[in-house]
């Protein structure tokens, strides 16, 4: 046990840090992009507050395209754009953009479906009170669906952890990369098992936090 920690402790710890860094940075950016996308979809749909068929169709179409690409393909497909935006295509810097492009539209979809759960009657009631559409969207619809949105974001965060495992391909490191490089390629199963256990605990933790927060926000 002691020898294992001496031998692998710092490698795994670094990997853990890299996974956390990649996941949290890209998660925050994806939320910042994903929530407006979800709102845009709900607002511009045919029975939305601001129906706009071209905007809805184009957004819908782009999201579907991005969502049909496996992350590993996306990672290589947008290399030139990554190079242009991040200045590099390797390391954590090089993997943030692909991860955001992967998770942003996904969160957009999750937010869309959460917002669509809001009772249309409630929206109509606020319209009848002379409340502006902006306030109805951001102060009423987002508020009413917050429990459901948190559940969606929890799913997205866990999905992101999975995607970061592939970030090792461009040298961004992380737990998934350690499990692959040392555990699989060099056949050191003990390293693989430890990283797997850490990933399991991490996912359980995130899911539990998400469940608790979501339940607290739910009042019905």
């Amino acid at each position: 046990m002691q020898t294992f920690i001496n031998l692998w402790g710092s490698v795994i710890w670094t990997g853990f840090g890299q996974t956390l860094a990649m996941t949290s940075i890209t998660f925050i950016l994806s939320v910042v992009i994903g929530i407006p996308i979800g709102v845009l979809l709900v607002v511009t749909r045919i029975d939305g507050l601001h129906p706009n068929k071209p905007v809805y169709s184009i957004t819908n179409w782009i999201i579907n395209i991005l969502r049909s690409l496996p992350f590993i393909i996306l990672l290589f497909l947008i290399l030139p754009i990554t190079k242009f935006v991040a200045g590099t295509t390797i390391g954590i810097r090089g993997v943030v953009l692909p991860l955001v492009v992967y998770a942003g539209p996904y969160i957009g979809r999750l937010v869309e479906s959460s917002l669509l759960e809001v009772d249309p009657g409630t929206i109509e009631a606020y319209q009848s009170m002379g409340i502006s559409n902006g306030n109805i969207i951001w102060r009423i619809m987002v508020r009413e669906s917050r429990s459901s949105i948190i559940r969606g974001l929890t799913i997205a965060a866990i999905g992101l952890i999975g995607a970061t495992a592939m970030a090792g391909l461009v040298g961004a490191g992380g737990l998934g990369d350690i499990a692959y490089q040392y555990g699989f390629q060099r056949y050191q199963p003990d390293v693989m098992y430890v990283t797997i256990v850490i990933l399991i605990v991490l996912v359980q933790l995130i899911q539990s936090i998400g469940n608790v927060v979501s339940a607290r926000l739910k009042k019905d």
Binding site: D119, T122, E124, A125, S128, N135, R139, L217, K219
Partner: protein
């Protein structure tokens, strides 16, 4: 004041050439301070009609005029201002499930720019009016249907509107709760002077609180007038059905058949003061007719007592019978021979 001028509304369906006429050539006028009811079965166009008052729907033709202005012609910001002066309550309450009772009143007020202190004061004032101040920290899920509707009423009142629209507000409630919400609406109308425009498919709602009523059938107003007149002398078949006025008051036909042959089977309708007169005993004294009561019902329309009787006027003397009918009419009682 609310006025509909030749208002029609047509919805275009999925197929371009398939139009649904929801409201057709409706004209009506609601005076300040009155309670006006529109009654009709579901699909009659009531929901569309009421939503044209606050611009949630726009008429295809004609005009809806509220406080002297055509609603459809208002600018976006003027429409928002108008809506703030028109409260609305719904069958499904439409409260925020994530907010407690107090927040449900305060939040919409602050969203329209009323400062926090004023909003808080209003919430307290109107929650006390609807008798729910002690439930201010509860969430809608913890309240009964009637309590939720009271919160919705308080939310509407907190904007201090001149007009309150009620969209089937009691349709999801049991009879007892319905009664409590109706007396609340009556109180609001009388004490705060708020004009109420309501739609319903429930006859009792109209009878209990409305001053005037319009009966809507397939988008068309088929009958309109004072509630007492419309329901005591309904002209249209649909109104009769609503009023539950079969001439026979629910008595099986085979039981009535022997009486009907004598042509002395009549239905009597008493409204207001005439309902208090001991008419039947006078018939016996004055005309020596023995009235045989086969069925009857008594009730109130708003505050007017109202009764219906199905009576067999037993006499062999045809002239006495005719004189009795005349006497009944002189007492302001509506009388009609029943034909099966």
């Amino acid at each position: 004041m609310i006025e509909f001028k030749n208002v029609s509304k047509t919805f275009t369906g999925q197929q371009k050439n398939k139009h649904v006429k929801a409201v057709e050539n409706v004209s009506l006028k609601v005076d300040d301070g009155e309670i006006y009811g529109v009654m009709g079965y579901s699909g009659a166009g009531k929901s569309t009609l009421i939503r044209m008052i606050n611009g949630l729907e726009k008429p295809s033709s004609g005009q809806v005029i509220v406080n002297g202005e055509s609603v459809a012609d208002l600018s976006k910001s003027d429409l928002l201002k108008l809506r703030r002066k028109i409260g609305m309550i719904f069958q499904s309450y439409n409260l925020l499930v994530t907010a407690n009772v107090f927040q449900n009143i305060v939040l919409p007020l602050t969203l329209e720019g009323i400062d926090k202190k004023e909003a808080t004061q209003r919430a307290e004032k109107y929650l006390k009016i609807v008798d729910l101040w002690d439930k201010r920290d509860s969430y809608p899920a913890q309240l009964s249907g009637g309590q939720r509707q009271r919160v919705a009423v308080a939310r509407a009142l907190a904007h201090e509107p001149k007009i309150l629209l009620s969209d089937e507000a009691t349709s999801a409630l049991d009879p007892e709760t319905t009664e409590s919400i109706l007396s609340l609406l009556l109180k609001i109308n009388q004490e705060l002077g708020i004009t109420i425009f309501l739609i319903t498919h429930e006859m009792e709602v109209i009878q209990r609180i409305c001053d005037r009523v319009a009966v809507l059938d397939q988008g068309v107003i088929v009958e309109e007038g004072n509630v007492v007149d419309v329901f005591t002398q309904p002209k249209q078949e649909i109104t009769k059905r609503f009023a539950g006025v079969s001439d026979t008051l629910g008595v099986p036909r085979d039981i009535l058949a022997p009486y009907q042959d004598t042509k002395q089977l009549v239905s009597l309708q008493f409204v207001g003061n005439s309902a208090n007169n001991p008419l039947l005993s006078q018939l016996q004294e004055k005309f020596r007719i023995t009235p045989d009561i086969l069925a009857g019902s008594m009730g109130y329309m708003k505050r007017e007592p109202y009764g219906r009787l199905l009576v067999y006027l037993k006499t062999d003397d045809k002239s006495q019978y005719e004189a009795a009918l005349q006497y009944i009419r002189d007492q302001q009682v509506h009388v009609e021979e029943v034909k099966l």
